[in-house]
Subunit: 344 residues, 2 copies
């Protein structure tokens, strides 16, 4: 299965994003010419998924360089500094965002005092490389992960770690795609992933589009499936992996890891190496974003709770490394104990 879904693209000197807030009802692409609008798209989840927001932010820097009226390298760098900070301030948890911005900043610094046209061209090349490498990493980790999947597997995933969450193909869903190509997937259990419903809205949409057999469940139904032996493995993506393997991912991931352990089901994380943050010794140091209470009080514009009810709405949780059977990256499958270092 090769996925033609390209949620983040550079076309005619503009960034094109598939607006993920409208899926599955509507497939609408938006065209971005200003970095401020890209930052807003990241903040409001028009584009989401750790690798995808890294790629989008990199192109945000490209747009900032192109819209800057600076005439000197110093003035351009000052303008870009504003963009770097604005893009970095959109979402706190996924490290790929900071990784991609760091890479763009290093590219910029390597071009000090070069002609501005060359700087702009090289920044575009760097963003395009980040995108291309992400797709390649996903395909590689998909192959590595598929080797862990038994025949006729019933796989459970959470949230969307698919083509939509990346530059294409997907991480957890990349593993599923590769295993499906090898004829090993009976079906994928897709959980809804409240409150933003990336499972039912996005992962199910990818499955329908690419012909991956799947069954949708409410998040709360996963445990009884495991109790009945109907889940052979769980695989999810990641937003940040600490040096010891503790992994932040979409809220609800930790519950699945505990449930998987209780039922003897393997629990895998699939993510590109850019998701690893070796500067953090453990998951306790990963900042967890809290989002708008409205995400829980409403679905779309339909109220599902009293407006007067206080809400606690963390977007991520941390799964301790001890509950993770293996971490699948483009470099291969890593088993515990995990010890990720800055040297890679």
């Amino acid at each position: 299965v090769t996925s033609a879904i390209a949620p983040v693209r550079w076309e005619h000197d503009r960034l094109v994003l598939l607006d993920q807030r409208l899926l599955p009802a509507q497939e609408l692409e938006r065209v971005y010419g200003r970095w401020e609008d890209v930052a807003d798209a990241i903040r409001t989840l028009a584009v989401r998924g750790a690798p995808a927001i890294g790629v989008a932010a990199a192109f945000g820097v490209v747009l900032a360089a192109r819209t800057s009226t600076a005439m000197t390298f110093g003035a351009l760098a000052a303008d870009l500094d504003v963009a770097f900070k604005g893009l970095a301030g959109t979402r706190p948890t996924a490290v790929n965002l900071f990784w991609a911005l760091d890479r763009m900043r290093r590219a910029l610094e390597s071009l000090t005092d070069r002609p501005l046209d060359e700087v702009r061209a090289r920044l575009l090349k760097e963003a395009q490389a980040i995108l291309d490498e992400d797709v390649a990493a996903n395909r590689a980790l998909g192959e590595h992960g598929a080797a862990l999947v038994p025949g006729r597997a019933r796989i459970l995933t959470h949230c969307n770690a698919g083509a939509l969450a990346t530059a294409g193909y997907g991480t957890a869903l990349g593993v599923v795609r590769s295993a499906h190509t090898q004829g090993k997937v009976a079906w994928l259990w897709v959980d809804e992933t409240r409150p933003v419903m990336q499972g039912s809205r996005l992962t199910a949409w990818e499955c329908v589009r690419d012909g991956i057999p799947h069954r949708l469940i409410a998040d709360v139904a996963a445990a009884s499936l495991m109790a009945r032996g109907e889940v052979d493995l769980v695989v999810t993506g990641a937003d940040r992996i600490a040096a010891n393997g503790d992994t932040a991912n979409k809220i609800g991931t930790y519950a699945l890891a505990v449930l998987a352990r209780h039922h003897g089901v393997p629990f895998y994380i699939a993510a590109p190496y850019s998701t690893i943050d070796p500067t953090l010794p453990s998951g306790a140091h990963i900042p967890i974003e809290e989002r708008d209470p409205g995400e829980v009080r409403r679905v779309g514009d339909r109220p599902t709770a009293p407006e007067g009810s206080p809400v606690y709405n963390p977007a991520f949780d941390v799964t301790p490394a001890t509950l993770i059977s293996a971490i699948i990256t483009e470099r291969g499958v890593v088993r515990p104990p995990y010890r990720f270092s800055e040297g890679g």
Copy 2:
């Protein structure tokens, strides 16, 4: 805290139900004069909650007796037989429904060949007794359960086992109400309870109405709260309890029980004795209702998944007795091992 919420009432020779499908946006009472409409109200969740559907079904039998044009006891019994079967066929899991209908049937049989006016009056009296006894049972089990609650407790509940799920006051939420009256509740964690959202729509509504401090969360957030030590106990209702203590309740209850065990948090079931089905040796024998895929594919009329995605939508799961710290009934607190017998 005494709750004035009376979701099932007999008034002016009619059954009055608060339509729970419309909460929290709208508080609408519907008046029922025909048993067939009561059956439909149970099937479509206008009234829900194991004790509440038992009470509603009992009044359905009363309405069937009143609308019957039978002139002899035999003809009336034949008409009522149709109503008994129709009401029993609405929902399969909650045993209180069958318990209440059995009780109405025994009342009918004790009146064989009595004048039909007397039969009708006595059936009404029996239904009213079922309702009154349910409220009394809830208040008693609320007191028993409150004794298990420590001071400044942060309690997690699932679904709605409140006044709305019963004839009034509530089972799990009855425990919370009693503990709150004693000043022991810091706050109640209310989870949404996808797909029908009885937590956010109904339990949060009861909390707002009765001034019970609460915080709403997505179902998937419970695990990380437990990991951070922010849940002191879990208490839920039940739809059917087998002789060995295995308990069917709203889908998602089992996951909370596994998570509670993993984190060393006490997990309690609160239910009236009418929820116990001593004829079933274990939870493996409890029939689990599967409901319309549309409940998962949509919220209200808003699509949240592709129409082409297959759905698995069980309404209940079974929590094994080994994960239940205690079962709270109106007769007191029962600890494992559970051995419920027909004699009570």
